[in-house]
Symmetry: C2
Subunit: 443 residues, 2 copies
Amino acid sequence: MSIPIDAEAMRCYGAAARAGPIARPERGDGTTAGRAAGTAAVSGEHSGPGKGAHMRIVAVHDGILPISSSIRNAWIDFNQMDCSIVAVVSDVVRDHKPLVGYGFNSNGRYGQQDILRRRMIPRLLAAAPGDLLDETGENLDPTKAWDVMMTNEKPGGHGERSVAVGVLDMALFDLAAKIASVPLARLVADRYGDGTPDARVAVYAAGGYYQPNKGVRELQDEMQGFLDAGYVRVKIKIGGAPLADDLARIEAVLHVLGGNGDALAVDANGRFDLDTALEYANALEPYGLAWYEEPSDPLDYATHAEIAARYRGALATGENLFSHQDARNLVRYGNVRSDRDIFQFDPALSYGLVEYRRTLAMLGEHGITPQRCIPHGGHQFAVHLAAALHLGGNESYPNEFFPAGGFADNAVIDNGLLALSSTPGIGIEEKAELYRAMRALHD
Amino acid sequence: MSIPIDAEAMRCYGAAARAGPIARPERGDGTTAGRAAGTAAVSGEHSGPGKGAHMRIVAVHDGILPISSSIRNAWIDFNQMDCSIVAVVSDVVRDHKPLVGYGFNSNGRYGQQDILRRRMIPRLLAAAPGDLLDETGENLDPTKAWDVMMTNEKPGGHGERSVAVGVLDMALFDLAAKIASVPLARLVADRYGDGTPDARVAVYAAGGYYQPNKGVRELQDEMQGFLDAGYVRVKIKIGGAPLADDLARIEAVLHVLGGNGDALAVDANGRFDLDTALEYANALEPYGLAWYEEPSDPLDYATHAEIAARYRGALATGENLFSHQDARNLVRYGNVRSDRDIFQFDPALSYGLVEYRRTLAMLGEHGITPQRCIPHGGHQFAVHLAAALHLGGNESYPNEFFPAGGFADNAVIDNGLLALSSTPGIGIEEKAELYRAMRALHD
């Protein structure tokens, strides 16, 4: 299958920046002149900045990638969904090629080219090398790059911008791990964790969307397919149909799951008001489900708190909170329960790993362990973070959001566990179609 | 003075949409074919859709407008700030020209071309006319247009997107008022208010930024200039200098103000942690200032609540909260005091008037009157809303954010009051440089 990446929307930053349709030369894009893509000195195997020299970012390319789908949840239709992709080209050469870091954003929030092109990428390229590097000068410190990207950004308003920064943060970490010649999980465990990444990560299969002509039988077939593929826990949507219909769907899926409620999660995508959320809560409780996800508006912490006071099972939320400040408000005001609830903040939509670590630290101050975190999105980046930081697992969309979402093409799920690969970086090179789109940005 | 609007960044939606650098024809932009700019039947004076016919939007044009400035607050430098501008062209003809609605976004959050071009504008143009119109079919109902623009948008994450929607909401209301041949304040008062807009709106002069080579004497001169221009209340920044220096600045300004603390507000731009905020609070309290603005992170309601428990004067905040849900969290958790505190939500950054009315309704449920609202931004749109909905006033930046910010070129401030003009719509036609930029979008 060929992915129609949008060639017209592709863009290189570097010396070519002045020519672009949105670039504003008067705003200083010219500071990047001379760092054009392809000007990196490609000479020698495993050459690099050398002793005492600093590695440099020589170009950042971006594009839009459709992740279209016919699916629909209780809130939106995904048939026009897309994401941003970026390639950060360094002057570090291995096997006669410059190392390149790749990033993309997770599903649900669209690509963010304008914020990338007019704010984040120019700031990165205008930075002095020392403002982006670790103490050795031979590798990136994405924490420092984060501060550079957020220069002249006001506080609050965490959405969209958080996606753009997340895309670049992912690419910078991919590049940093490639420079270190280790999988990202190893780099993150060494820099920020206990040095011992998990070898496998628990993943659950998210699906069960509402689709035209999809009845209970087709839903059961979809779930059986997940089990056949090696998953042991699945998730379906609720709230896009009347309660009675949703309960019939749940019971049909539980039949496929051998009646094991803990193998099924349900997701309302923030659609319910308090009364409806409680009506569902009462109906769901006897099933003993793995969790009841996003019953109410993600920012309506008071309603979430009331649901948590009434529903004894686990609640899950967080995929639509994009900063540690928003996450902190959930914890402060949402009546979350550290012994059961699930936190689904998605680093690829939320200012990246740099911000995710702030969120984990905040959770820790409130007695909530990383084990309670299962990121939204079903992407490779979060798998590495889950392994490195001992999160509770990761989402997976086996049938959706191709080609950005999902894991390596040859990934095997065994008893609900995904083994990490040993490829340096995130492993986007192991997803042929996504890698093809990424390479088209800079080749 | 000539404003360098970015011609390369200008864009027309209509039949030309397929040709653009970011447009994705496969996403349905082609639904607008045949509605190109200039195809409106320009015939006859004051012609319109006619009895039984529906008015239509025939094109939406957008561009980027620099609002550069050398100013700096406690958080960011504004020297690369810009905003989006849009022109919504209708098929309603008056004086042989189609009526056009104009919108722009307020300062501080940059232009939002990508969200406009790939999400909001295509949805508006793809809508059936009936999905945008009031019951007469002869004018727009921006409330319905809001739902169209927010189709396939997930809940939460209110930032950037809120700016894009705000720009279009402003243009739609400008156009609706022009179709009704009334100033926007009259339209809003008739549709949503008590039918009696205020003739004048209290405005205060915001300035007092930190700038290179700007000492206390220059600060005093700036403030005296505001008084000479007819203002009676001024605002200066704090938090960009040590407390002792800021107190010296405050006392110098109070000297210009004849010692009247109520004539001076101070703004920390969300910079302080709790300890610093309280240190300032203790030092500020004896001055009896008009208000102490945004002492802490806009989403850190708990810190705001602690400050409110200790500071007896008025606190002001809200310019960095972009939805009624975020505003509601401030009210729920921020220990706000309905008898003194000031709410500065900026409709031009926050999904427009449609959302602002939700916020006002929420405030009312908590016993907070419109009189407590003084919007951020210093733009004409908010002046009309202030007059129509009896807000407490409006900000003004006499020396900044030209040409988007500010009021009519011939506006007179008398005893701190700005008289509304009788021009149909917002009155952007009375700001020559802004109007020139707007006309360049579609002429």
